[in-house]
């Protein structure tokens, strides 16, 4: 007795679905997990068919949350703002706005992952109704419990020919993540092995430190750059994307704290911060955090022999410049000597051309009566390097080849 064709087909399908997983670092999934853990609404931007839904399924599984998918573009505004139900005496009781079934189920479960798919193809009125859902977690008269996390997905403008763009207020409420497929992952996955990302874990001991660090980073930047606090997108190309406002800065602060507590890489934090306040302000925040990691010039001057100089040339140059600047601001012989010790160490452990400008600036700071410190001997070598560069510049100028 042969099996029916459909049974054979089912067997074949089952065999095809029999895949294994392997651990693999996936920064975009890590960023998504962290933002979801931080209870911020996430918006995944990606071409259709690259596995956004699959990623959400994996995320829901690993967080132990039931997944509810709502295709935003096929709903009407009343599905999100609530359907009016007229009772016996509307004048006395008012008209309650009844929530749809999926919202009731979510509220009853108390927790879950709500996935709003195809957000960018939803008409403007539906997007407006979604504002309240995303910001206040309200669906009609129902308030979704705190255990519900919200993730949305949208197709980029290039592939959504019939799409509307996101209004700036709605865009400002999301952490925008660009979702790309990884060629290797797809090929290996079709071969039967899909990646299993290790999810970031928050370290309880680092929580207070993380909050302090995040506040210092964000407040330090915004105190110095007040213009960054609120910048509506002025450029057509940036519409519908992330932009800085007090709301999105608060989100950025929270993400920095979560990333610090989870010990995630700068790579992941970069995605999150740039996806919250936009590329420019996000990069400025990251640059400010890089500078916070650099040694403090005063600490270096106090003990130049023990100071740790960064390996990377541009950062090392920033430290040397910072130290010379600190001496310039409060000059005395001891600080001047200490700076020479540091320059000597920089010369021994790294490229010499970085030391030239700080050394000549420092030499010019010498005041009458200061002795030449012994450390200056060690820096003498750069004089010939500097002369060599000078001679090259003179040759370029003389030959006219620089024209």
């Amino acid at each position: 007795m042969s099996e029916s064709p459909l049974e054979v087909a089912a067997e074949l399908i089952a065999l095809l679905g029999d895949t294994a997983t392997e651990p693999r670092a996936d920064p975009q999934l890590e960023a998504l997990t962290l933002a979801v853990a931080a209870d911020l609404p996430v918006l995944l931007w990606g071409e259709p068919g690259i596995g956004k839904t699959a990623a959400l399924t994996q995320l829901a599984g690993s967080l132990g949350l039931p997944l509810t998918t709502v295709i935003a573009s096929v709903h009407e505004p009343s599905d999100f703002s609530g359907l009016p139900v007229i009772g016996d005496d509307p004048a006395a009781q008012g008209v309650p706005m009844a929530p749809p079934d999926w919202a009731v189920r979510l509220a009853r479960a108390g927790r879950g992952l709500l996935f709003l798919d195809e957000l960018s193809t939803a008409p403007p009125a539906v997007q407006a109704a979604l504002l309240r859902l995303v910001l206040e977690r309200r669906v009609g008269a129902l308030r979704l419990p705190a255990g519900v996390r919200i993730v949305a997905a949208a197709n980029p403008r290039s592939s959504a020919a019939d799409g509307w763009e996101l209004s700036p207020p709605l865009a400002n409420r999301f952490v925008h993540l660009q979702w790309k497929h990884d060629h290797d992952v797809v090929v290996r996955g079709l071969g039967g092995t899909w990646p299993r990302a290790s999810l970031p874990r928050l370290d309880q001991d680092r929580v207070p430190e993380a909050v302090a660090f995040a506040r210092r980073a964000v407040c330090g930047l915004l105190a110095a750059r007040p213009a960054l606090v609120h910048l509506l997108p002025d450029n057509e190309a940036r519409r519908g994307g992330p932009w800085p406002s007090p709301r999105s800065w608060e989100m950025a602060l929270r993400l920095v704290a979560f990333a610090t507590a989870a010990g995630t890489s700068r790579e992941v934090l970069s995605m999150l911060v740039r996806g919250t306040v936009g590329d420019g302000p996000g990069l400025e925040l990251l640059a400010a955090m890089d500078r916070m990691d650099l040694p403090d010039p005063e600490a270096v001057l106090a003990d130049p022999a023990a100071a740790e100089l960064p390996e990377r040339g541009d950062l090392r140059q920033a430290v040397l410049d910072g130290v010379v600047e600190a001496v310039r601001r409060r000059p005395d012989q001891a600080r001047w000597d200490a700076a020479w010790v540091l320059l000597g160490r920089a010369l021994e452990s790294g490229p010499p051309d970085l030391v030239v400008v700080p050394a000549s600036t420092l030499a010019a700071l010498r005041q009458a009566g200061w002795d030449i410190p012994p450390a200056i001997e060690r820096v003498a070598g750069i004089v010939s390097l500097s002369r060599r560069a000078d001679r090259a510049a003179a040759r370029v100028a003389a030959s006219g080849r620089g024209r």
Binding site: P77, L83, L286, D353, L354, A389, A392, R395
Partner: protein, 413 residues
């Protein structure tokens, strides 16, 4: 100095000279990590910001030319030539070694036409657009379409700027796991600091770098998409085009007696297109943009007879509904006053829902906000005519007013 050992003092003196000649690139130059390598023909970079250096090349090259090579190599990284090469390779299937060599040459052409000079010597053998008989000032992607490997490029085959220039891994590459590489975030941070340094430095930076700095993190988007998004947003907003309305009951009302639900209702939007026909806009540009507007309006549900076209120079003339405007000759020439065009378009009854103005921006704008949405498509001025007025190059005409959504029609289509 014995043969074969790296003269690092010479190499660093060259970098110092480069950083002095191009202070705005100093951060990037210092972020490059030099790696001595005997496999590299000259100097080459990888995408992790390592710079592989041949000791023999350093020994035989003068300091001033080495400085030029430093700037050249760092330019590949700042301009993300490896990422752009990968994108081109992915889009058009140019994956062979020859194609990658062409990408390397095209990237060199993009760099070399404007990085040297002004205190920085041109290295011996640096390939320029003129070498291949190509125009200056194009981007790598454009150059790539303009030449093939052949007799002219034979002499360039030695040239190899490494995987940082064309994305193809080389034998000497240390790879992502090797020491002293920069992560993607660190690379972005360096590029951002350089871009910030350039935009914050008035005057002394060449136009090419200025343009790079403006676009480093916001590459120009295809104007068709931007114009489409702007017009779509304009015709679909409340009051025009498609939206929910309580003016007519929803289909769902049948199953919810006593409940009033809004319905999705479409009112085809009326669009008035004002076309600037002053001498400065070419017919080809105009034709493309006009067809684009018509196509977008049709896509959002407008009917062609609801799109009217006005040509406008110093006066406004109605050309008529688009359905009768196939092969229209747009009349005009000379100066422009778009205020007349706006006045004329808004006088029409029924009034337009959206006004789309296609112009080069050389015009006075209406003082008050029109009572409908406005989209402005701005044609670029000619390449040579980036400055508006020979006698007064600083004079820039007023940009479009803030109530209009302006789209530059200058980017890629």
């Amino acid at each position: 100095m014995t043969a074969g050992t790296l003269d690092s003092e010479k190499l660093f003196a060259a970098r110092l000279h480069a950083a002095r000649a191009r202070p705005y690139l100093a951060t990037a130059l210092f972020a490059l990590h030099p790696v001595e390598s005997r496999q590299v023909p000259t100097m080459a970079v990888d995408r992790h910001w390592r710079c592989y250096v041949s000791p023999a090349f350093v020994a035989r090259t003068p300091v001033e030319e080495l400085a030029g090579v430093w700037v050249h190599e760092v330019s590949h990284l700042l301009r993300d030539h490896h990422g752009r090469s990968d994108r081109v390779a992915g889009e058009s299937g140019l994956t062979g070694r020859g194609d990658r060599l062409r990408m390397n040459i095209a990237a060199d052409l993009e760099i070399n036409d404007d990085v040297f000079g002004d205190g920085l010597a041109r290295p011996e053998g640096a390939v320029e657009p003129a070498t291949l008989g190509l125009p200056e000032g194009e981007l790598m992607e454009d150059y790539l379409r303009l030449f093939r490997l052949g007799p002219y490029t034979q002499g360039l085959v030695w040239l190899d700027c490494g995987s940082g220039a064309d994305g193809l891994e080389r034998a000497w590459d240390l790879g992502p796991g090797g020491a002293n590489g920069l992560t993607e975030q660190e690379r972005d941070a360096v590029r951002f600091r350089v871009a910030q340094g350039i935009t914050g430095r008035p005057g002394s930076v060449p136009q090419g770098w200025r343009r790079w700095a403006e676009e480093a993190f916001h590459p120009p988007q295809p104007w068709r998409e931007l114009l489409g998004a702007a017009i779509r947003a304009a015709v679909s907003g409340p009051g025009a085009g498609e939206d929910y309305t309580y003016g007519r009951p929803s289909r769902r009302s049948a199953c919810l007696p006593g409940v009033v639900l809004p319905s999705l209702r479409r009112r085809p939007p009326r669009v008035a297109v004002i076309v600037d026909t002053s001498g400065s806009v070419s017919d080809a540009e105009l034709g493309t943009a006009l067809l684009e507007v018509a196509a977008i309006v049709a896509a959002v549900g407008g009917r062609r007879e609801l799109v009217s076209v006005l040509s406008c120079d110093a006066a406004a003339r109605v050309v008529g509904p688009l359905c009768r405007a196939e092969g229209i000759t747009l009349v005009g020439g000379g100066g422009t006053d778009l205020r007349r065009g706006f006045a004329r378009a808004l006088r029409a009854r029924p009034a337009p829902d959206v006004v789309v103005a296609l112009t080069d921006g050389q015009t006075p704008w209406p003082q008050v906000r029109p009572p409908c949405r406005t989209v402005v498509g701005l044609f670029p001025r000619g390449r040579a005519g980036r400055s508006w007025d020979e006698d007064d190059p600083d004079r820039v005409p007023d940009g479009p007013p803030s109530w209009a959504r302006a789209v530059d029609l200058g980017g890629p289509p």
